[in-house]
């Protein structure tokens, strides 16, 4: 068997070889960046525990609470991006579906369990509708879901109004989805679990392979017997369903829903995916990258806040991070080619 060694031909020493191997796994570059940033942060946290409270349990807890909201959405948006489409409506769906669950609980005494299931189903259905319109009329999903974003945002105000709404599920629901195991919030546990499931589906199931194929070259996939529309519709439904799931988790965490709460999440999710090395043209990416992209977005924000950067300037740094990460990915991609 002509198995090619992962070690480069020139005489790098072992750590360099390991480094190269790490670079080569999907999401490897972002993993390296993430580890490097964590090492610096932890070192700074240990050296200056009073000034830089990175390792304080309150800080760790806040970060682990914050990551899943974007993480769940990014997983769905990322899978859809790999299949070659966008969903800009996830922020609106996130709020709309959470309000559906809360309304069922508050006004119709439907249990939070059923309400959450209905919310996720509604989210998936909205995603599916986006997909049907996109594929049925051969439109860019960017435009269709831009319309959907405004449509569902408007529907929230029409059906519910601008007041925030309470969500007080039963104790079991609260502990399973909103509780924590030590420092680890349950939402983070669920996110990790879903990351594993998504990774297995993308890398080790036919469906995942077809998503990469359809996103990479739709015509080739079709010519070889894959049904691109079917694969893309599944990805659209996943994006909508994950947005709803994120909405339910957030509602459970803070026990209330703000009607404008989800605005901006769609772009943050795409940004997290880009930071995580996903291609905007589809067919390329990894779950590890999506997760780290979401985690890194919050880590940077957290670090800036700990360094007492004024909150309203945060976007400057997040914006720079996105473009910087995109440049880094591009450079790394080019150099891996030569």
């Amino acid at each position: 068997m002509s198995r090619v060694s992962a070690l480069p031909k020139r005489g790098f020493n072992l750590p360099m070889g390991e480094f190269r191997r790490l670079q080569r796994i999907p999401g490897g570059n972002i993993l390296i960046a993430f580890i490097a940033i964590q090492i610096v942060c932890v070192a700074a946290g240990l050296a200056f525990p009073a000034q830089f409270r990175y390792l304080a349990s309150a800080n760790v807890s806040v970060m682990l609470q914050a990551i899943p909201t974007l993480g769940f959405i990014s997983l769905g948006v990322g899978v859809l991006m790999i299949a070659g489409e966008f969903d800009l409506s996830v922020g609106s769906v996130y709020t709309f579906t959470a309000i559906v669950a809360a309304t069922l609980l508050n006004d119709f005494s439907v249990s939070a369990w059923i309400g959450a299931l209905v919310a996720v189903a509604v989210g998936a259905a909205i995603g599916l509708l986006n997909g049907l319109i996109t594929l049925g009329f051969a439109l860019p999903s960017f435009i269709v879901t831009l319309g959907a974003m405004l449509f569902w945002r408007g529907m929230i105000l029409l059906l519910h109004g601008a007041l925030s709404i309470g969500f007080q599920p039963d104790a079991t629901f609260q502990s399973v989805f909103g509780g924590s195991v030590g420092l680890l919030p349950m939402s983070f546990v669920w996110l990790a679990l879903l990351c594993v499931v998504f990774h297995v589906v993308l890398q080790h199931r036919r469906l995942g392979n077809h998503m990469f194929a359809v996103g990479g070259n739709r015509d080739a996939a079709y010519a070889i017997g894959i049904r691109p529309a079917q694969v893309k519709l599944i990805a659209f439904a996943i994006a909508g369903g994950m947005a709803a799931l994120s909405g339910v988790f957030s509602a459970t965490r803070v026990n209330s829903i703000t009607p404008v709460g989800g605005a901006g999440l769609e772009l943050q999710a795409i940004a997290a995916c880009v930071i995580g090395g996903l291609s905007l043209t589809g067919g390329r990416g990894s779950i590890l990258g999506i997760f780290l992209g979401a985690a890194l977005t919050y880590t940077i924000q957290d670090v800036l806040l700990l360094m007492r950067a004024p909150g309203f300037y945060l976007d400057i740094f997040v914006g720079a991070l996105i473009v910087g990460a995109a440049i880094l990915n591009q450079v790394a991609w080019r150099s891996s080619r030569s």
């Binding site: 002509s2 090619v4 036919r206 077809h210 990469f212 194929a213 010519a223 067919g283 080619r337």
Partner: protein
């Protein structure tokens, strides 16, 4: 005459103002290699795509072993035993060679999980034994990084691995070197000995003359000349391609 394994009668296909196929009759017998000739726009690629199931005819009928069939998708043509090497190779640049070869027909183990090792080993084997293309040392390489000839080799390897009865080759040698072309032509002959029929679309009449048993010349979506190798010469074929 024996029943053709594949036959189309009176197929037509129109793309907007263009009549790509115009009442075409065409048949293929077991173990036969046909050279499908004609100038650009004659309808050769449309015929290949129709046989592959990715273009649906507007009119006409298809027979397999004399039995009428409906071929509406790539899956239908796959069931008939048709494999195609497309002119544009139909590969996904962002995926590895292995994943391209098994795209849509992934090998799975129990529980439906992909059998990556088996696919990789098979890919290495197919690339080494059937198409001797230089430079493909690692089946995990992305197809987008390959040269034109190497891409074509991957497309050929894929078709050859899954081949059953009919192999359709649409301009398969356009990006190949002289030696690689010779290898491919020799391979088509070997397949004929195993009763695999081929349809070779090419502009190179010398290549066609080397391996084909029969020649079909198309023009404006119609068949204008159909002759077995014994009854014709390269000159005569050239005249029909150029003048019709």
């Amino acid at each position: 005459m024996t029943t053709p394994i594949y036959e189309v009668r009176g197929v037509s296909k129109r793309f907007g103002a263009v009549q790509a196929l115009d009442g075409l009759d065409f048949h293929l017998c077991a173990g036969e290699v046909i050279g499908l000739l004609g100038d650009n726009g004659a309808g050769k690629t449309t015929l290949i795509k129709m046989m592959s199931g990715i273009v649906r005819p507007d009119d006409g009928s298809v027979f397999v072993d004399g039995v009428p069939v409906v071929v509406n998708s790539r899956r239908d043509s796959q069931q008939i035993g048709i494999e195609t090497i497309y002119q544009d190779t139909a590969l996904v640049g962002s995926m590895s060679i292995v994943r391209n070869i098994f795209m849509g027909r992934e090998l799975t183990g129990r529980w439906g999980f992909l059998d990556h090792r088996k696919m990789r080993d098979t890919a290495v084997d197919v690339l080494r034994t059937t198409v001797h293309i230089s430079g493909i040392d690692n089946p995990d390489k992305e197809v987008g990084d390959l040269s034109g000839g190497q891409k074509q080799a991957v497309a050929i390897a894929r078709a050859v691995y899954f081949k059953r009865r009919i192999l359709l080759l649409d301009e398969p040698t356009s990006a190949l070197s002289v030696r690689e072309t010779e290898n491919l032509l020799a391979y088509i002959k070997r397949l004929r000995d195993e009763q695999v029929s081929s349809v070779l679309v090419t502009h190179n009449l010398y290549h066609a003359y080397q391996v084909c048993d029969r020649f079909v010349v198309m023009s404006h979506g119609r068949k204008v000349f159909d002759v077995s190798k014994a009854d014709t010469t390269i000159d005569e074929l050239t005249r029909h391609v150029v003048l019709t």
